[in-house]
């Protein structure tokens, strides 16, 4: 474990990503301390630029943008992380079952996976959301999870296919272990790096999709999230009147989450696939190579 931790700590990008995500989560958890009071309360005049009293300015409705930003992190992050988990769980389960069983089960599941994969997600999300009317966070979660599992399922299936005839799996089968035990206890632990990548990617996707849906007005406008903040700012033409703080705060929040998660994912990718790594050892090797090439050319 400590070697894994060391490997992680040596990756500066991962550490930065981890600090960003932890910091934002702490901010969300400590919202009552950091921004006491109701974020939906009118506290000042309309569209005031940032001052000492309202560090992020106010919205058109005279609400404190800082307070909304802090409180809005809660549902935005919670929905993003929960949906990401749901997508990963669904994708992993379907991919594993499809890959392990093969035959007709695989044919049906693989066909479904590929079919759902090629249907454009956002138009489908908009269709589902518009039939459901204004939807709460739970419905947004369900809609996103049900339409975005195929990426993970495809990756997991490929891995499961390559694992299912390894000795330890065959042995487990011979001992007479039930299928669910073989799949979820024998095979699953071998997929941990893949699941990690899938999870971070799914959280990123969930946050993108959630923001898009809420920005388009499918979220509950009374619920303060970063997405509905963007929606409200857009509706009060904040950009055109020059109230950049109104749009800037939630946009920055979402962009920073994206940055943190992307840095984490980049590192996971490199750990799982050493070929992609571009650490110091590789640079040294490349430099040596270049030197040797130069010497060869000089000798010629």
């Amino acid at each position: 474990m400590s070697s894994g931790l060391k490997l992680f700590l040596r990756q500066k990008k991962a550490v930065v990503g981890f600090i960003i995500i932890t910091g934002l989560c702490l901010m969300a958890l400590l919202a009552p301390v950091l921004a006491p009071g109701d974020p939906a309360q009118r506290v000042g005049r309309s569209h005031q630029p940032p001052t000492v009293e309202h560090v992020f300015g106010t919205t058109k409705m005279g609400r404190d943008v800082y307070s909304q930003f802090v409180w809005g992190a809660r549902p935005s992050l919670a929905v993003g992380f929960a949906t990401g988990l749901a997508i990963t769980a669904l994708g992993t389960a379907i991919g594993l079952i499809s890959g392990y069983f093969g035959g007709r089960t695989d044919a049906v599941l693989d066909l479904t996976t590929n079919a759902v994969l090629v249907i454009p997600n956002i138009p489908l999300l908009i269709l589902l959301a518009s039939f459901a009317g204004t939807v709460g966070p739970m419905a947004i979660m369900a809609i996103i999870a049900l339409t975005s599992w195929p990426w993970g399922a495809r990756m997991t299936r490929a891995q499961a296919l390559s694992l299912k005839n390894r000795e330890f799996v065959v042995a487990a089968r011979m001992v007479g272990e039930p299928w669910w035990r073989i799949v979820f206890v024998e095979i699953l632990p071998n997929l941990v790096p893949l699941i990690g990548i899938n999870l971070v990617g799914s959280i990123i996707y969930a946050i993108v999709a959630q923001t898009t849906l809420e920005y388009l007005g499918f979220g509950d406008p009374l619920n303060v999230t970063w997405g509905t903040m963007l929606y409200n700012a857009q509706n009060s033409s904040a950009i055109i009147v020059g109230a950049w703080w109104d749009i800037g705060a939630p946009a920055l929040g979402i962009a920073i989450v994206g940055l943190g998660l992307a840095l984490l994912n980049f590192t996971f990718d490199e750990i799982a696939n050493p070929q992609l790594r571009s650490g110091p050892a590789l640079s040294r090797w490349l430099r040596l190579n270049r030197l040797r090439a130069r010497e060869l050319r000089a000798a010629r």
Binding site: V118, T212, Y215, I240, A251, L286
Partner: protein, 327 residues
């Protein structure tokens, strides 16, 4: 030029799935959407219009399979129903008006990002571990993670509102008459710059990442070593030996990304008030114009499937091994 039946089966299943969603969703909804649509029509609700909406959304006394057959028959003749917001225009007319602009936007952005992303990825793989790679590759991953809404709003604010470099709405100057002349094309080009720049970062990031990893594995192949051994220049080996083959995964990725690109174009068009499918979808969803929203899903599914099919065909052209393996 053979495409395996399996792929065709997948596309057929995807299309059927989209149709089924369209068909069943309004029938499953509590509180039929039909009434709200008829209310939406207001004084324009002629008996014919009401009849058409009822038939399409299942408020008729017919067995469900009969309704489904009628629905399929309608689709086969490109009858997607009538728009509620723009009645008496049909959905096909409403979509046809804006599809061209979206196609223009998406194709321009894809070509632009493909050139940049693939070159960045190839160079990053060639010099992996170097300073270029250390900066460009993480940057690409970050670009994928930032929602298009954010990029669109930032672009609009910086270049549209603050610097006033580019126009902040419409596909061309509304005072111009559309025609085949330099001024009109110039205006179209000028208005497309910000939307295209907004759509690109995501795609450049995706292309760069895919190209880099596929290029890295290709660089280990024997034929690349062979090219080097022949004494070819770095550029020749990089582009005519390695990059050509490393492009294949990029193309698969392109076809699969198209759905996300459409998602991005919807948001971009709304932010920049660009008269494409996204803006139509947005006005339709605000007005609860269900027939248009449904037609949109079918159209975008068809576009994505078409692109996938095209990639399957191109794959065989670029890499003859694939075709041999299939026959």
């Amino acid at each position: 030029m053979r495409i395996p039946l399996r792929r065709l089966g997948v596309y057929l299943a995807a299309f059927l799935f989209a149709i089924l969603v369209n068909f069943t969703l309004p029938r499953l909804m509590p509180g039929s959407p039909v009434d709200s649509m008829i209310a939406q029509l207001g004084p324009r609700a002629t008996p014919a219009a009401i009849e058409a909406i009822k038939a399409r959304f299942g408020a008729v006394e017919q067995p469900i399979w009969q309704q489904f057959l009628d629905y399929l028959k309608g689709l086969a003749t490109f009858d997607l129903g009538v728009s509620v917001k723009y009645y008496p225009q049909t959905v096909t007319e409403v979509l046809a008006r804006s599809a061209g602009w979206t196609a223009f936007l998406v194709v321009t952005a894809v070509v632009f990002s493909l050139c940049i992303g693939v070159s960045l990825g190839a160079v990053a793989a060639w010099r992996r571990g170097g300073r270029f790679d250390a900066f460009v590759s993480p940057f690409s991953v970050v670009m994928i993670a930032v929602p298009p809404v954010i990029i669109a709003l930032a672009t609009l604010f910086t270049f549209g509102v603050t610097l006033r470099w580019f126009p902040v709405g419409y596909a061309y100057d509304p005072s111009l008459d559309p025609g085949i002349n330099f001024t009109f094309f110039g205006s179209v080009f000028w208005h497309a710059i910000m939307p295209v720049l907004t759509l690109s970062p995501y795609m450049i990031g995706e292309f760069q990442t895919t190209m880099r990893s596929s290029m890295i594995s290709v660089l280990g192949e024997d034929y690349v070593t062979m090219g080097r051994a022949k004494g070819l220049s770095d550029t020749a080996v990089m582009f005519s030996y390695a990059a050509r083959n490393a492009m294949l995964p990029v193309m698969t990725n392109l076809a699969l990304m198209l759905g996300a690109v459409f998602g991005g174009s919807i948001v971009t068009e709304i932010v920049f008030n660009y008269p494409g499918l996204g803006l139509t979808l947005f006005t339709a969803s605000v007005a609860r114009d269900y027939p248009v929203i449904q037609g949109q899903l079918l159209l975008m599914t068809m576009a994505t499937l078409g692109a996938n099919l095209l990639v399957d065909i191109l794959y065989g052209v670029v890499d003859p091994r694939v075709q041999e393996g299939r026959t």
